[in-house]
Amino acid sequence: MLDFDGAAKRFGPVTALDRCTFSARPGRLTGFLGPNGAGKTTAMRAVFGLVKLDGGTVRWHGVPVRAADRARFGYMPEERGLYPRMRVRDQLVYLGQLCGRRPGDVSRSVGTWLERLGLADRAADRLDALSHGNQQRVQLIAALVNEPDLLVLDEPFSGLDPIAMGAMGELLSGLAAAGATVLFSSHQLDLVQDLCQDVVIIERGRIVLAGELAELRAKVPDRFVDIRYRGPAPDWSRLVPATVIRAADGQARLRVRRDTDLAAVLAAVRDRADLVSFSYQPPTLSELFHQAVAA
């Protein structure tokens, strides 16, 4: 369990972190969201002592993070970087050893990960001989060589093609399922909604929303009704007690209150339109995000 407790950091006139308090729990994926410049990178760096906090602490299992804990952490910085002229395997084994692992163990881990990410035949090549995508994979392995209990990834999905994105998502889910605590930042809200159990939203250094994603979505008093229909559009606002978000081309999105009688809405819509599909959903993460950040 990773806890930020009142973490504060200023850079001159800029407040990067304003008494941030949130947690990332083991066995779960936590998405760390926020506009650019909100303080995500600074917070992640604070976990590794790369940023010295002005106030507050970062705790691991209830104790302020120590160097020995970091040996069991994995980190992928936003700015990717490895030794360009070092061989892939040597490089990864070296990084694993720096975490205090025995060469034999590291070597085994590196072998397994290279195999899993399809890089086994490139192990003896210099990093700069690899394609951009493969270098990204090596960077990911660099964060995994110590089989970390906590994985912190800064924009792990940026620059990946859709297939690599899917593979990355699966891999992270797998690690979380195996008991690791995974915190990652991203701007891809749909992806985070699909992957993460928990989200933390930061805006101008302040945590504006944090918790279990399903719960956060359910807690909002609004619900959204999405309707697809054939034929002419009825006057939705007179039909049901709803705000029309948009309605055109056989599709409509309506906002209703959580306590609205769903059966009545459905019946009214079915009476007046040739219904194709009907869904009733809490707001998406994207809607939560925009609401939280705009507030």
Binding site: F11, G12, L50, E79
Partner: protein, 489 residues
């Protein structure tokens, strides 16, 4: 996992990766070959011991035999070639068939400059043969003549510049100083570019998430240093072997005890300069910044190197003595004095202790600078930024236009902004400081010139001071690069 073990892992990586590089392997071979060549070649190039002497015209009957005999006494094998005519003899000289032509026992003809030794041998032989001829004519018997001509033994020795030293020592000390400078400078700059490469490739953030900055810097310096030590050690060994192989030159300077000191001083000199290079390297942001951020220390190293040459001429003089105690020049000046036998046993020890204390202090400062600057992204930092901690400690590393770190970087922009729009007051203050420093340099140069009674040393001292001082000011007050136009630098 403690810092020491991590530093050792860093050192191992440096040694493994760098010793694989072709450039390094080539430099080891070149240095060994170079030093061995310098020591062995003079012996090989010494002209062979056989000389061809042409003889023509009237001469004492025993001249040929006397030349051979005299030459033998001087360690030369002389071959006599009689020529029927002067023209034939001169032709042989011009074609290099004979080294000298003796014409009528009165004149020696050479192709170019006379070979001093052969000149003496032949002239002596002519005198001796003539004296013998005249003695015979005067009726002096061979026994009486031999008694008259028994030579008084005269020996000739080379004093060198200190008791018990040969001029060969000066060459050895020269090579020693060059090797030390080379080692300190090359391996020191390896630390400089190594630090910058890690910073520029951003791998440093991955590393520092695992190990403390000081362990990374210490490991890097230690690893490159051990590699340097191996190279200097191999070179020293080559020098020992070369000297042992070529018995003909007498070089007391190249002994085990002196070479041991050379290695100690390499370690000290490297540790001192590499620490500073490492700290300065962290100020830059691209590998191209290396020379700019390191210019002040490079200048200091060069000046210390050139100054150290005074130890060769006069190892016991006041200048050499002073230089061998100043930590910045001691690593290059002290070994020379030791090799020339111009030190009491305690002198290198005291100087080494002073240098060690300086290194300890520099390590503290370097650790502070490095820790603050290494994660900073953006334009090269000035020392003043680092000192006042305007590095936004560990912010930066931002991708192009990623304001996530843009905000964090802002303070640096503020610092850079100050720099870009240097106010009139700042400019005046800097100009004033530069003027004062230049004046101080001129005064220093004059003082040194008067004191040392040597204008060139004075000019060198003054110019060196001005160069270093103004660059220091530049590094301190602004981001690496040329000072604003209109400045006396």
């Amino acid at each position: 996992m403690n810092g020491l073990r991590q530093a050792w892992l860093v050192a191992l990586r440096e040694m493994r990766e760098r010793s694989r590089s072709r450039a390094f392997q080539a430099s080891v071979v070149l240095m060994v070959v170079g030093v061995a060549a310098v020591l062995i070649l003079p012996a090989l190039l010494k002209p062979g011991s056989t000389r061809n002497v042409g003889v023509t015209g009237p001469a004492p009957a025993a001249l040929a035999a006397t030349i051979v005999q005299q030459a033998h006494a001087a360690g030369i094998t002389a071959r006599i070639h009689p020529y029927a005519s002067l023209a034939a003899g001169e032709q042989a000289v011009r074609q290099g068939q004979v080294d000298v032509l003796v014409d009528g026992a009165r004149r020696l003809e050479w192709k170019g400059q006379a070979d001093e030794q052969l000149n003496a041998v032949v002239t002596g032989a002519i005198q001796l043969a003539t004296v013998r001829e005249r003695a015979a004519a005067a009726g002096i018997g061979p026994g009486a003549l031999a008694a008259l001509l028994t030579p008084v033994p005269v020996t000739s020795i080379q004093l060198g510049s200190a008791p018990g030293r040969s001029p060969g020592d000066q060459t050895a000390v020269l090579i020693m100083t060059i090797v030390l400078f080379f080692g300190i400078s090359v391996f020191g700059q390896m630390v400089l570019t190594g630090v910058l490469e890690e910073k520029a490739s951003r791998v440093v953030e991955v590393l520092l998430a695992r190990i403390p900055p000081r362990a990374l810097l210490a490991g890097k310096i230690a690893g490159i240093g051990l590699l340097g030590l191996a190279q200097i050690g191999v070179t020293a060994l080559a020098a020992l072997v070369a000297v042992a192989t070529v018995h003909s030159i007498d070089v007391p300077a190249i002994r085990g005890s002196v070479l041991a000191w050379v290695i100690v001083w390499f370690v000290l000199g490297y540790a001192l300069y590499a620490t500073v290079y490492g700290a300065l390297g962290s100020l830059g942001s691209r590998v191209e910044d290396a020379q700019a951020v390191a210019a002040p220390v490079t200048v200091v190293l060069m000046v210390a190197y050139f100054a150290s040459f005074v130890t060769i001429g006069n190892p016991a003089g006041a200048a050499a003595r002073a230089l061998s105690y100043i930590p910045l020049s001691a690593p290059m000046a002290m070994p020379g004095r030791i090799a020339m036998g111009a030190t009491a046993w305690w002198e290198p020890v005291v100087s080494a202790v002073i240098t060690l204390a300086t290194i300890a202090g520099l390590v503290q400062l370097a650790g502070r600078v490095y820790t603050r600057a290494i994660l900073h992204a953006g334009p090269a930092l000035s020392l003043r930024d680092v000192w006042r901690d305007r590095t936004a400690s560990g912010s930066g590393a931002a991708g192009a236009g990623s304001p996530d770190t843009e905000a964090a970087r802002q303070p640096v922009h503020v610092a850079a902004g100050e720099e870009a729009t240097t106010t009139g007051a700042d400019l005046t203050r800097r100009r004033w400081l530069m003027t004062v420093l230049t004046g101080a340099g001129v005064l220093l140069g004059v003082a040194v010139a008067v004191f040392a009674n040597d204008v060139i040393i004075g000019v060198a001292a003054g110019a060196g001071f001005i160069a270093i001082a103004t660059r220091m000011v530049s590094l301190w007050t602004r981001h690496a690069g040329p000072p604003p136009r209109g400045h006396a630098t």
